[in-house]
Every structure is written in C-alpha cells, then in structure tokens.
Subunit: 619 residues, 2 copies
C-alpha cells in the first residue's frame, strides 16, 4: 500500500495524445447552474420485494428519481442550485479494475473545482482498505495529468471489494467523520454499489453528514436495470477482447487445423461473451443463461459442440472458434450442485484434501469423473459473493478435453470421418482489463464523475449516478440519479438438498443476466447457424481513437431499446399535460373524455401490476 | 482444402478503411523502368562454411548481390530492364501466418500487372500441399480487394511448412512444369526459405525454367542476417503483444496482488520477447540466449525470480510482470538434455507411455521432479525442425510453480516476510498472429512483393527479396536481392551423450538468436534494474493506423546500426572511385599514395578474415 500511487509517469506517444482528450459535457451539465427535477418516489421493480427493501433501508428507500436539466430548461418545479459551498469529498475504487475508472475521478474533480475552487477531493489509497485506514491522497490537477483517459486503477489502487462487516462499516463511518467528508463516492460494480447503499443507510441512521454516491463501473456489464443501461469499462473490454477473438478467428481460418476454445472474463453473467460474439462472429458461443434455462448438462454441452465440429467437418472445415463465459461452469446444473456441496464443506472448515471423501455419492462420482486439473480448481475457496473462483476454473480446457475424447471415440467408431480434433485454449481477461479506455468509456465515466458532484450538491444520499440515452451522441445524453435501493431485488432460495423451507436473502443488487427474451439475444439466435457454418468472421480491429470504429458503441447497447429514465420523464410530462388541459373550469366534455380515458389506462396498469411478474402480460 | 479461399467477405469499418490504404513505392521501384546493378559475387558469412555450401548448391552459390535502382540513377554498368514479356508466377504461404503476408501477394500482383497486364499470378491453396496437388486460385483484383492490408493467410491458407523430401521436391517440380511457371514465390521464414533455396538448386539442375524467390515473412523475427534487417509480421506481433503486456502491467499495478508470467510465441530465438520488453517495460524478461550463454539451470532461474520477488516485496511491491520466450525451455541445459533423450527415444519408435522408463538415470530423475502437466508436454512429438513443440510447453506455468514452492519455503523459514506469492500465467501468440497488419508491415510486405517481380524480370533464381535502411521512411528504402545461399551456415554438432565425433549438418538458414553483444540487448541491460524495481511500465496502446504511434517502428530495428546492403554499395563506390582517380596516366605520387593506403587496408582485412570467427578482432 506504500506503492507510488498517483505519481506522474512517463507516457507513450499514444497515451500522451489520449491524456489530452477532453470529453464534451452534455448540455445539461454545462455551465455552473444546473436544475434538478425530482420525479416520483421510486419503488422496486418487483412489488413483492418493496416491503422488505423498505424495512431494510428505512432512511433511503422510496426517494425520488432526480433528473439534471440545463439551466434554461423550462420545467417550473425544478430546483435550481446556484449556491456552491466548498465541500470535501472522498472517492475510492472497489473491485475489478475497469477501463475508464480514472475518468470518474477526473470528472468529479473537475466538477468540484468548477463550482468552488476550495472544494477538496481525497482519493483513498488501495480501495476499501485505504478507506478503513484513512489513507488518502489529495487529488490535484498535476496528479491527474498522466491518468486522464488511461486504463487501470493505478492512480489509487484497489484491494478487497467489500465494505460489509460491522467493523468495516464502522471503520468507514469513522473515516468519513474524521476526514469531515460531505460526500463519499464509491466506484464499482454490483457488490460495491450494494455496499454503498448499505453505507448510505447506516450513515443516515447515525446522522453522519456524509452522503454516499455509487458509480456503475464494472467490466462485467452486469449492473444493468431500468436506470442503468451499461457500465463503464464494458465497452473497452468487449472491444479489446473482440480484437483478440477476431485475430484468433483469422488464425483459425489461415491454419485450418485448430479449434480455439476461448473463455471470457465477466463473472456470473454472459454479457461480455454475447457482445464479443456480436462484434466478431465466432462460430459458437455458449451462454451461461442458455445453459441454466435449458438445464444442459456437461454431457449435453459436449454433444452439442461435437455435433457442431462434425457438421463443420462435413463441409471440410476442421477449424473453429468457440466462446465461453467464465460463469458457464456454475450454470451447468450438476457442476453447480457439486460446487454447492464443496463450498458447504469448505464453510464447515473441511480441508481441501478431505473434501472429496465427504461428498455425497452422486457428487463424488461426478468429481472423480472430472480431470485432475479441474478438481483442484473446483476446490478453491469461494469468492466473497459466494460464487466459485470463476477466473481460476478452466472450463475451456474441461470442455476441450471432453470434446476431444468424444471426437476420438466417434472417429474410432467411424461415425466421425473428419480430421483429428485439435483444441487450443485461451482465457481472455487480465490482458484487457488494463487497456486504454475506449472513447465511449472515457466520455461515460467523465460525465458520471460530474453527475456525482451534482448529486452531492443536491444533498442526495444513497444514489447512483446515471446516464441514459447512451446510444446517442454525448449531447443527447440524459443525466440523472436513482436511489440504489430502487435497483434492488430479494433472492428467495431453498437451502440444502431437498430442503423445502425458503430462505429470504438480504435486499441487494444482483448481477443482471443476459435477457433471453431481449433483442441482443434474438440477434444472436438469428445469426447462430450462419456463424456456426459459414465462417462470417468479422474483425473490428484494434481499439481506435480516431476514424472508423472509434465511435462505435457496443452492439448490445445499441439494439436494446432502453432509455427508461427518458420514458419516465416523458410519462410525467403527459400526466402534467392532462392536468394542465383538464383544469377546473374546463368543459364538461373534456372532463368526461379525460375521465373515461384515464379509467381505462388505470384499469390496464392495475391488472398488469397485480400479476406477480410485474408486466409480463402480453396484449 | 475446399474451404472458401479468396472469397470476398464482409469487412468491419476499420478493415474497410485499411483495405483502401495504398503503400507508396520507394523511388527505385516507381515507373516501369528499373535498373539492376549487380554487386560482387557473394560468399557465406563464415568462410569455413563456404566450401560446403558451394558443393551443395553448385548452381546457385556465389551469385552476385542485386540492387534495384531508379531509372534515372547514374550507374554506368547497371542493367536496364525495359522489356517485360508476360510471365506466369505461382505464390504460396508457408509456415506460421504472419501479419502482412497478404501484402506480398498484392505487391507482386500489382507489379506483374503494371509491367504486363497479360502476366498471370496463381496462388497455391493450402500452402505447400496446394503446390504439390497443383490446387491454384488465379489472383485478380476482385479477390485481393478484401485482403489488402489485412492479417492472416486466409486468402490462400497454409498447411505444412515443409518442401523437403524427394517426393515433395519432385511434386513441386512437376507442378511448376505443368503450370508453366516462370517464377515461384515462397512466403515464409527460416525453414521455408531454406526449402526455397533447395528448390532453386534442384530446378536449375533439372533445367526447369521456373525461378524460385523467397520472401522473409515470419512473426518470429529470426530470419536476420547481413542482408535481412527484419521480417514481415514481426512489427505487428510485437505491437499487439506489447499492448497486451502493457495492459497486464497496468492490471498488476492496479490490483497489486499478482505476478503475471507471460510466455511469448517466437520459436527458438527471443526476438519477440526482447522487442516487447523494450516497448512495454515489464519488470523482468528471461531471454533464452542469456540462459544458454550462462548455462542457467532451472534451479538458477527459480532462484533469480525468487530473489527479484523478494527484493520487490521489501519495497512493498507484491505484483510484477515477467516475460518468457517460448524457446526458453530448450535453452535450459538440463531440460535440453532431457528433451534430446526423449526425442531420441521417440525417433526410435518408443511410445510416450514407455519413454520415462527408458531414460538415463539422470534424465529420469529430472523428469520425475517435474510437475505432471510439463512431463506430458515434453513427451510431445518434436516439430519438423527437430525442436520441441514450443508453443505447447507451458514453461510459464513450470516456473510459476517452482517459484511458488520456493517462496512458500522461504516464507515458512522466515527468510521471506512479504505477502503470499500469487502467479497468473499467460501464453500470448495465437491472439496476435491474425491481427490487422501494422503500417510498417503493410509497407514492407507490399514493397517486397514488388521486388519479387523484379527479381523474376532480371531472371534471378534462388534469391530472397530484401529491403534495407528500413528504419528510415519508405522513400529512403533500398531494394535488392541476395542469394539465399549467401545467408546459410553449417552446423557442426556432437551427437549422442559423450560422443566425440563431430557431425556436419546440411547448409541451411538458421534462426538468428538475439545478439548478446548487440545494441538492443545493451539497451535492455542498461534498464534492467530500473524495470525490475521501479515499475516503469509503458503502454504503447492498441495498434493505431493514424496519429502518434502509427509510424512507430520496432525498437530493436531502430537501435541496431544495420544497412549492410547500403554499406556494401558504398564500399563498391569507394573502390570505383579509387579506380577512376588512379587511372593509368595519373601522377606517380597519387599512385604511390594509393598503393600504400590500399596495402594497409588489405593487410587489416586479411588479418580479420583469417580469424575463424570472421571479424571479432577489436581494434
């Protein structure tokens, strides 16, 4: 932790050029006067969760949405913030480093200084551990100079991504009080933003004046909900990985002798794998969500890949590229069950050497069937979110191993007549995380940093900074803030084999999985057969900062029809308009028409809301 | 082999932009009139090899160097080629695909058509196997359109990289005769260019009119000698790998908890590892050449890395990045000896299962000491050049494993007091090979393609196309051709354990290793300690095609003081000048001065040449 954080460093020519890049702010954040419009009080997406969330977060649940508007916006009841006293803000990185994280710090610093040069920004060194230990570095222009638009989290570093135990929360509270912070900005993913919400609630309860703000920064792209369209870092990670996947596709097609199995970082959800598939068109991708939904076993997956290899061999193609998300392993039902048993035994303190002998007969049989390298990896201690150590489990090697065995069997039996199957395995993750951030991630992160300031200036606590309408150019972006509690869900799960009792989890943000009914997945399905057989490999090339491709955005971002925040605002405008038209004194006809129309609207919405799945009725 | 070679395909926006990029030709190749100047007859670098090479290649050894000059160049005895009959040329890719290979085909096609639109270029499908089977695709503009400046070898594909057995050579001869080829252009590395020289000799002997030309295209960068400064593909590979290494460095510095062990593709020599180190400044690199020169054992290497980890821990640094060339494993003396025994047994037909029991006691002890995954990899069948399957042997995992064990031991003994050592391993190779080619590789390959035509137009056989002065802009490049035999050496090696007899190998091109007395290595040594301790990580960023970095050239290319071809020409100019000044009729004084000066020059050179190592005397 005594490393040389924040020291100026030598940059390459390209890094220098990038360090001079300056994101333009959306119109609503330009100038020093910003209007905040508050929407209606928020609820949770699943009405049945609302009660529990409300009870767990009495001070921070149900707060309204906030929209930041340009100073000239004609919204009568928007609040105009013109006074900007000097404030003290702390900021820290939590969890996996994601390209663009530095720009949140830069944007926040810039906004603070524009509104009051006496405001102070303190960076916590080494993530949450730096917060607990009150290790800070004051962020000043000189320090930022060589970190603007650069990848990594090395300006401040990071360690554990957890602020959860009573000791940790108390240490954070003490730090904020001691350092007299008006605001604490937590940059991170699902887990860290859940922690941010918890801190906000605890601080409010303890009457600590520090307001807590979360920022959605995670390469996994799994912090997605009504309010959050994508995360900082996802765009860059997908572009760098797609470059490499495409290179491997070209390689496969040139040498015509290998099947490449590529596992991609991204934790439980398969967003990175889906996006990379849509960018580079490999022959096959197996999404964890598909496997979970169809309950595909290891045997099913092996067969599926072998059949694909065989179909391609019949067309004289003895090469191919197959993508796998790192979360896949947990989506395979029997492996999941095995992992649950192993983790249970680990929690009971059983040592790794003794676990295999204490497994149930069924789990033990599976365990013994697996190759030794995978056994060793499955025995690793689970992560802080109870998932397996996904980055360490070489699912790609397991599948390549099983496919090779099956293809050799088919070859021997004469059912497969192609060339000998050869696999080469890759894990793409660490080599993308530290990349220079894409233009999109630079812009998005910088704007989010600005929004953090405005959230604090408006005195809000327990909010996440949000930007919507992201698929459009920066000058069309809508800036806002949503209470983190409004993004929470409650997990209900049975525990232990055959248990019938249902346990209710703590409200939390949960990783959004790939929506198998969504447009991005539909696009994949439409092309899957062509991708499999026709080698429609596409090479988006290395990340560019100028010219074609430099302004390309994630395919999954662009095909999804999002802008929830924009629609919420639009709805409010309609309601306001009805109120304006149907003022006391209007004609009887107009009133009658309004009544009748609104009665029918409320009927439909009541019906939809009462169905437990919150809106899945189709008309 | 029936894949869809050469079909037009959909390109990404960046690929499209790149496909429109047009390399400017150096002045000497512009226009349709080119002058060829022939230098003196060539010899081999090592005089003691000259005899054997001459005997093996009676028709193609000792041919003169060729320099291509601009039409207006004032060189009296240069041959001017103005007649350009239509010719038929075949071209094929051999060996590991290297970015830029497509541009050789494009440059060659362009030069053929400029000089005579009736000339025909046939691409052999699937490399040497396509040559033997006479599977061809006529190269036309439409086909090239989507392959210009693109990576991979997928325009034509490739298979085995060998044209060596009598059957293979005869099949090639038959193909060239049947297809009535005036020229055959072989695109490849060390092995393929040796094969090209052998074909040229065989064709000359057989009075086959097809002239054979080699082109130095190999990502390994190991086809280096007096005439060849660098290879097509090396620049791109080093840039893509440096991007990834830098990302991993940033990652290491952000998370501060991992040591990354990265193995790099590049076969026996460590050129890629050296260049990537100079571009991205990781903490450590272990070159195979250093290990071989100092005879470092596995134990020495482990200790060296452990000491580095410990030194860094004392500065509170628990992260780091260590590069290893894939050829390292063969440079470790005891592993090399073990591999020799294993390969000997494999050649005797001993099956993998029985090898370990037939090893000598010493080799067996080492074999049993190694972790199981490495044992399995060492037992793989050797490659066609008798080296181990370097890409399949996970040296990085072996070293990480040994270092971890040693660090745990030191931790237990209390001699190391830092954090627990954690390693993450990578192999970077396949993900770079298929990359879009860098501007340098696009230019270099395209110019080489043009030169191939001029070599054929000049009627030369057994030559390699060469460009020198590469560190300068394209308009300063010098274009020429050198007989491949002039680049050959002869290996003398003892065979078998304890054998005293010396066997003499066939003359061949051998991979050039990193010169431990060269300037590039010196630059590394000067910075090694700083790199190790100070984390001077440098991120050249993703490959760019415009702006800063787009025109950057390999560091090893720029620091070396090469231009051998330019110097040879310069020398010839001096000699000509002396002859012009000291013409019969000049004054006695001038003649005396010339005699005295030339006597002293010839004395020095005679002395230097007679020393067996060819010029290592220092004055």
């Amino acid at each position: 932790m005594d490393s040389d954080f924040g020291i100026p460093r030598e940059l390459s020519d390209l890094q220098k050029l990038r360090s001079l890049y300056q994101t333009e702010l959306p119109p609503c954040l330009q100038g020093t006067t910003v209007r905040v419009e508050f929407g209606d009080a928020t609820t949770a997406a699943d009405p049945s969760d609302a009660n529990i969330i409300g009870r767990t977060f009495p001070h921070t649940y149900g707060q309204p949405l906030a929209h930041f508007l340009r100073a000239t916006a004609k919204v009568p009841d928007a609040q105009i913030i013109t006074e900007h006293p000097a404030i003290r803000v702390g900021v820290l990185f939590c969890g996996r480093q994601s390209p663009g994280g530095h720009n949140v710090v830069w944007g926040l610093h810039n906004a603070l200084k524009i509104h009051n040069p006496n405001s102070v920004l303190l960076g916590f060194l080494g993530g949450s551990e730096g917060l607990f230990a009150q290790k800070t570095l004051e962020i000043i222009d000189d320090i930022l100079a060589t970190y603007k638009n650069q990848g990594g989290y090395d300006l401040l570093g990071r360690t554990k991504d957890q602020i959860r135990t009573t000791e940790q929360v108390n240490a954070a509270l003490t730090a904020c009080n001691t350092l007299k912070l008006d605001g604490l900005v937590i940059i991170g993913g699902v887990t860290s933003n859940t922690d941010a919400a918890q801190l906000a609630e605890t601080f409010a309860e303890a009457k600590c004046p520090t307001k807590v703000v979360g920022v959605p920064v995670t390469l996994n792209g799994d912090l997605k909900n009504q309010f959050v369209e994508t995360n900082v870092g996802f765009d860059t990670i997908c572009k760098v990985n797609s470059q490499l996947i495409s290179n491997v596709c070209t390689d496969a097609l040139s040498a015509e002798k290998y099947y490449y199995f590529i596992r991609l970082m991204g934790r439980k959800a398969s967003h990175v794998a889906l996006e990379c598939t849509l960018q580079s068109h490999p022959n096959m991708v197996i999404l964890g969500e598909e496997v979970a939904a169809s309950k595909l076993t290891l045997f099913d997956l092996t067969k599926q890949i072998c059949d694909a290899v065989q179909a391609r061999a019949e067309q004289d193609k003895n090469h191919g590229v197959i993508l796998l998300p790192e979360g896949l392993i947990e989506s395979i039902p029997e492996v999941y069950a095995l992992l649950q048993e192993i983790h249970g035994l680990i929690r009971e303190g059983v040592s790794a050497d003794n676990i295999s002998s204490q497994l149930s007969p069924w789990a033990s049989a599976l365990f013994e069937f697996l190759p030794p390298f995978i056994r060793k990896q499955l025995l690793l201690h689970p992560e802080s979110d109870d998932s397996a150590q996904l980055s360490q489990i070489e699912t790609e090697k397991l599948l390549a191993h099983l496919v090779e065995a099956e293809m050799n069997k088919r070859l021997k039996e004469g059912t497969y007549k192609g060339k000998k199957f050869n696999a080469i395995c890759h894990f793409f993750g660490y080599q993308a995380r530290g990349s220079l951030a894409s233009k999109f991630d630079c812009d998005y992160a910088y704007v989010l940093g600005h929004i953090c300031y405005h959230i604090l200036a408006a005195g809000l606590n327990g909010y996440m900074a949000t930007v919507t309408n992201l698929k459009n150019p920066v000058n069309k972006w809508r800036c806002g803030a949503a209470p983190i509690t409004a993004m929470m869900t409650v997990k209900r799960y049975g525990r232990g084999p055959g248990a019938s009792s249902t346990s209710i989890g703590k409200p939390a943000l949960h990783p959004a999985t790939v929506d198998l009914k969504g447009k991005a997945y539909e696009l994949l399905r439409q092309n899957a057969t062509k991708f499999l057989i026709d080698d429609l490999y596409r090479n988006p090339g290395p990340l560019q900062f100028d010219g074609p491709g430099a302004d390309a955005k994630a395919v999954t971002l662009c095909v999804e029809d999002q802008d929830y925040m924009g629609r919420i605002k639009k709805l409010q405008e309609y309601l306001d308009k009805v109120r304006t038209i149907v003022k006391p004194g209007c004609s009887q006809d107009i009133l009658k028409a309004a009544l009748s129309a609104m009665a029918s609207v409320t009927d439909i919405l009541t019906l939809m809301s009462s169905s437990s799945n919150g809106g899945q009725i189709r008309f």
